[in-house]
């Protein structure tokens, strides 16, 4: 707030300099927080509908494990949690200015994330072959819609991570400026968190 | 006036691509370039459909809510489910079920099949069309009818005809026996349309007779289908020219 007449360039600085006090973080981070608010409402609509339908028609759901492959998905859940850990590692690495570490951990995150999507596709193929399709009652409807949109979010996350990784290999990040890594990391952790909720209510209950 | 001109100009922009005036969005798949029915040569199957025993009573329809239609009847109208006139059964679709050479295609009849809505009933109640043949739907009543087709293999439609004299044309793309038609404004109105991949079909009228002509020589299985009384089949051998008889008999117990 010290500048009397900040220049235009300072608008885009980290954090914005010369402005009235805002959120105290740089724009991209604030924007991602706000955007995640929107994402929460999206998943609230899906999960809320799921709960309403399930409470009204508990008989439409099969007991856990009868249709869905819980052990496989449990492993997949574990994978996704691991990818959050590698993401944290990547972020920690670049905070220390360790570009090599960043690249290593980012690649690990991309691979695990893609693996998660792959396992989900594998699971879908098996379920469909077993006759469990989206039109299979409320169970199929909600299962495919919720896990499908989560899978879509993970896929988007993997694409963003690949982009960040590519930029890491270009040497665009440093200890001083690594906003892209942090922002995508926020998104990635969010997607991970949503999955833990979905795994619990869709597979385990 | 200027306002209207502007409004219509904008409307035409909105509607652009919707087809010419009068042309509408009729999805008639043109085939065969208006070739005459296959009656040019070949043999034919001629016969009649009879009904023995006492025909079941047709339910009466309370049309009091629709004065326009009620006025067309002297007494309380009945739902013409089973129409028997001196032992002859009407509204039976007779068609070649099998025996035609596989893979052969036939020209589509250029004349449209017409179904009329009059007195809040469909005329005829049973109808057959060929795939691609134009089905012309007419409204002769000065009331709203909607025409809802609920096929399983073809694409359905649900359209309205709010005024007398309206005609709408539709066609079907896939063989399907049968496509039910209904009017939801007058819940009693039903008709059935058989969609066939060949032109060898006929529908019986009040005299119960039918003729399927233009058939190449060969042995065919012929099916007679009635919406309430079910189906009957028979095998016939059609000569290169001339006619072979085929008579079907339904009874009250047929289901």
């Amino acid at each position: 707030m010290a500048h009397a007449t900040p220049t235009l360039e300072e608008n885009m600085m980290d954090p914005p300099r010369g402005y009235e006090e805002g959120a105290g973080v740089y724009n991209e981070k604030l924007g991602m927080w706000v955007f995640l608010g929107s994402e929460i409402m999206f998943f609230t609509a899906l999960i809320g509908s799921y709960i309403i339908l399930r409470v009204a028609h508990p008989e439409a759901w099969k007991p856990p494990g009868e249709v869905l492959n819980v052990p496989l998905t449990a492993i997949n859940t574990f994978l996704l949690i691991c990818s959050s850990v590698t993401m944290v590692k990547a972020f920690a690495a670049i905070q220390d200015g360790n570009l090599a570490g960043l690249k290593r951990w980012l690649i690990a995150t991309v691979i695990i994330g893609a693996g998660f999507v792959g396992v989900q596709v594998f699971e879908y193929i098996h379920l469909v072959n077993d006759g469990f399709v989206p039109s299979e009652g409320l169970y199929g409807s909600t299962f495919y819609t919720m896990t499908g949109f989560h899978g879509f979010h993970v896929t988007v996350g993997v694409i963003c991570l690949m982009y960040v990784t590519w930029r890491a290999f270009q040497g665009k990040y440093s200890a001083a400026d690594h906003r892209g890594v942090e922002v995508v990391g926020l998104y990635w952790h969010f997607v991970d968190l949503v999955w833990i909720i979905l795994f619990t209510i869709v597979y385990l209950i | 006036m200027k306002r209207i001109l502007i409004a219509s100009a904008v409307l035409s922009l909105v509607a652009c691509g919707g087809g010419d005036e009068g042309g509408g969005a009729v999805d008639t798949t043109a085939q065969g370039g208006g070739a005459a029915p296959a009656a040019a040569g070949g043999g034919s199957v001629t016969g009649s459909v009879t009904f023995t025993g006492t025909p079941p009573a047709n339910p009466t329809i309370d049309m009091s809510e629709e004065a326009v239609c009620q006025g067309k009847y002297a007494s309380t109208p009945a739902d013409p489910e089973v129409m028997v006139t001196s032992g002859k059964l009407a509204n039976v679709v007779v068609h070649v079920k099998s025996g035609l050479p596989a893979g052969q295609t036939f020209p589509v009849p250029s004349a449209p099949a017409v179904i009329d809505q009059e007195g809040c009933l469909y005329h005829p109640r049973a109808l057959a069309v060929m795939v691609g043949q134009t089905l012309q739907i007419k409204n002769s009543d000065a009331v709203l009818h909607n025409i809802k087709a609920v096929p399983t293999k073809n694409r359905g439609f649900n359209i309205s005809q709010p005024r007398a004299g309206m005609t709408t044309e539709r066609s079907f793309t896939t063989e399907e026996i049968t496509v039910p038609l209904e009017c939801n404004v007058h819940g009693w109105m039903h008709a059935n349309i058989a969609v066939l991949s060949h032109p060898f079909f006929a529908t019986t009228g009040a005299d119960g007779s039918f003729t399927i002509s233009g058939l190449p020589a060969g042995t065919y299985e012929i099916e007679a289908r009635h919406e309430k009384l079910g189906t009957k089949t028979m095998s016939v051998t059609v000569p290169a020219t001339g006619s072979v008889p085929a008579n079907f008999a339904f009874t009250a117990t047929t289901s």
Binding site: L8, M41, F42, S49 | G24
Partner: protein, 590 residues
């Protein structure tokens, strides 16, 4: 010095010198990242949809005013819409549906949020641009295909979506019931895409307002238009994804056979209504809050007086935004929802009238003791207040559950919603367009024709919508193709014809505005920097403002409504004007 900017997905670009070198036409006007150009792009697109929605309304009014008669020029329509120029019932339902959809999602909402959110936020808070200029550009270019798809629905087989703009399931999800298949699917996909566009726009606005206010622009020095747009952006951000989620489920029901809203396998038709209105009621406030903000700015300017009770105006906006999440059930009193829930929704609905009333009284208080200048924007803003009063009061009838039993889904609600959305939002939009037009295009609109447009619109508007209250009180249902089918409605045909003729006049009057808008762009009088003697930061820069808006970021010393301040000779005091130190106890406020 690294001036790297990375956006959400990790993009980077050097934006620092973007304004210094020449840009191609394409970059400058088409794929522009300048918030002002994007605002104008939204303006043009949404005005086109406003016109299209108006055309649909005229066809509706033709059918109701002159049922069963051939519409002049209607012969150009295909037989699936209007054979011989006579509208078909299924086309009528599509008209009603698409009039609502166009107006709500493609006209009023982008006009308020897309246009003025974009144009005003950076200028009024003293920022050079949005926090994420390229996401801003994306939000416009995502909206374009959504609009094209929504129009394309008219020409697909089966016609356009015809289940009402609320698309109540199961009618909306079963082609055999409605006769519509592709049209409804396009409706769904278009709104999902538009939702994404709105979300991208709103998180941009929110970030910008939080992080990029000029030094000295405290929260309580923000103009009320910015407060309203900021709170609206939060509502959009949180409400649109609910709609997207619901529409995705509807789309899956139609296309891949899921069972969310169809009762055959346990789906719930009421679930759609709950989801739709959980979005839909905040949406109602999305459509009115910015209008309230513009009216506040313009009434203060026109009255040459500070806004009465600035703080309570801000709290009223916040109260509406919070309470707005708890009243959705009042759209569903007749839906078969538990009657006890109905009572609680009625009480919360009654309460939300309070902040709206506060705003009305404060506008009156602002004019009181003022020195009113009747420029066109002021006329529209005053019309907004007086029409909003009617729309607000008529809402109380429907909030009262027993009275709602009778007037629910009749023309009374049609009258009410048009008093709020046309009398309210659209008059405020006309106020805003005529107010900021000089800033946007650097030219003044012709004041005579602008006032002529106002007078004709105001009179014709009331002739159209006021009698609809009477229709509703006689039990005239909404969305009825031909009311003459019912004996108890036949005596209303004369009133319906009167409404239709008034509607044609109303529609025709809009061409005065359209011509004035377009012609002034080319031949209008050159606009000065500050034609209305306003205090806002946007009026301190040239008209139109250059790329980057401000040569240097301005410093703000006071609130936006210091009109007729005793501290200065003129009757206005710009927010960034530095005054010599005042003796203690001066009148300077905030």
């Amino acid at each position: 010095m690294p001036t790297i900017k990375s956006s959400v997905a990790g993009h980077a670009s050097a934006t620092g010198e973007a304004h210094t070198h020449e840009m191609s036409f394409l970059r400058k006007y088409i794929f522009s990242t300048d918030h002002k150009i994007i605002g104008i792009q939204f303006l043009i697109m949404s005005l086109v949809f406003l016109l299209a929605g108006g055309v649909l309304a005229m066809v509706i009014r033709w059918q109701l005013g002159f049922p069963g008669q051939a519409m002049p020029g209607g012969g150009v329509l295909p037989d699936t819409m209007a054979p011989d120029g006579i509208v078909l019932p299924e086309f009528y339902n599509a008209l009603v549906t698409m009039h609502g959809t166009f107006m709500v999602f493609f006209a009023i909402m982008p006009l308020l949020v897309g246009v003025f959110g974009n144009y005003l936020i950076p200028l009024k808070i003293g920022a050079p641009d949005m926090a994420f200029p390229r996401i801003n550009m994306a939000s416009f270019w995502i909206a374009v295909p959504a609009g094209i798809m929504m129009i394309a629905g008219f020409v697909v087989e089966g016609g356009h979506a015809a289940a009402g703009w609320t698309s109540y399931a199961p009618l909306s999800e079963r082609a055999d019931l409605s006769g519509v298949s592709m049209g409804q699917i396009l409706w769904c996909i278009s709104l999902i895409i538009l939702g994404l566009s709105s979300i991208l726009g709103s998180f941009n606005y929110i970030t910008t307002v939080i992080n990029l206010r000029a030094p000295g622009m405290h929260w309580f020095r923000l103009p009320l238009s910015i407060w309203a747009l900021f709170v609206t952006a939060i509502l959009v951000l949180l409400a649109m994804p609910i709609l997207s989620g619901a529409i995705i489920m509807l789309l899956f029901d139609q296309t891949i056979g899921t069972h969310f809203f169809g009762p055959a396998q346990g789906g719930q038709p009421l679930l759609w209504q709950h989801l739709f209105w959980f979005f839909g009621h905040p949406e109602v406030y999305i459509l009115i809050l910015p209008a309230m903000g513009f009216a506040s700015d313009i009434i203060a300017n026109g009255s040459r007086k500070p806004v009465f009770g600035y703080a309570s105006m801000v709290f009223a906006i916040l109260a509406i935004a919070v309470l707005g999440w708890g009243v959705w059930g009042h759209h569903m009193f007749m839906s078969g929802m538990n009657p006890t829930l109905g009572t609680s929704f009625m009480i919360s609905t009654m309460l939300i009238a309070v902040p709206s009333a506060i705003k009305v009284f404060n506008w009156l208080g602002t004019i009181w003791l003022g020195s009113v200048r009747f420029h066109t924007p002021m006329l529209h803003a005053v019309a907004f207040v007086s029409m909003f009063i009617i729309g607000g009061l008529s809402g109380i009838f429907m909030a009262s559950t027993p009275v709602d039993i009778y007037i629910h889904d009749t023309y009374f609600i049609v009258a009410h919603l048009h008093y709020v959305l046309f009398g309210g939002s659209l008059f405020a939009i006309f106020a805003a367009i005529t107010y900021w037009y000089p800033k946007m295009f650097g030219r003044m609109m012709n004041p005579f024709w602008a006032k002529a447009h106002f007078v004709l619109t105001f009179v014709a508007y009331n002739f159209v919508f006021f009698p609809m209250h009477q229709l509703g009180l006689q039990g005239h249902m909404r969305r009825i193709f031909d009311p003459n089918e019912y004996e108890f409605l036949q005596h209303l045909q004369g009133l319906n014809t009167f409404i239709s003729i008034s509607a044609f006049v109303l529609f025709a009057a809009q061409f005065i505005f359209a011509i004035n808008f377009i012609a002034s762009w080319f031949v209008g009088e050159k606009a000065p920097d500050n034609p209305w003697d306003d205090n806002g930061l946007e009026w301190t820069v040239p008209s139109p403002p250059p790329h980057g808006n401000f040569a240097t970021i301005p410093r703000v010393y006071r609130g936006p409504y210091e009109y007729s301040s005793p501290l200065v000779q003129e009757d206005f005091l710009p927010q960034n004007r530095e005054l010599p130190p005042q003796p203690a106890g001066s009148a300077a406020h905030t």
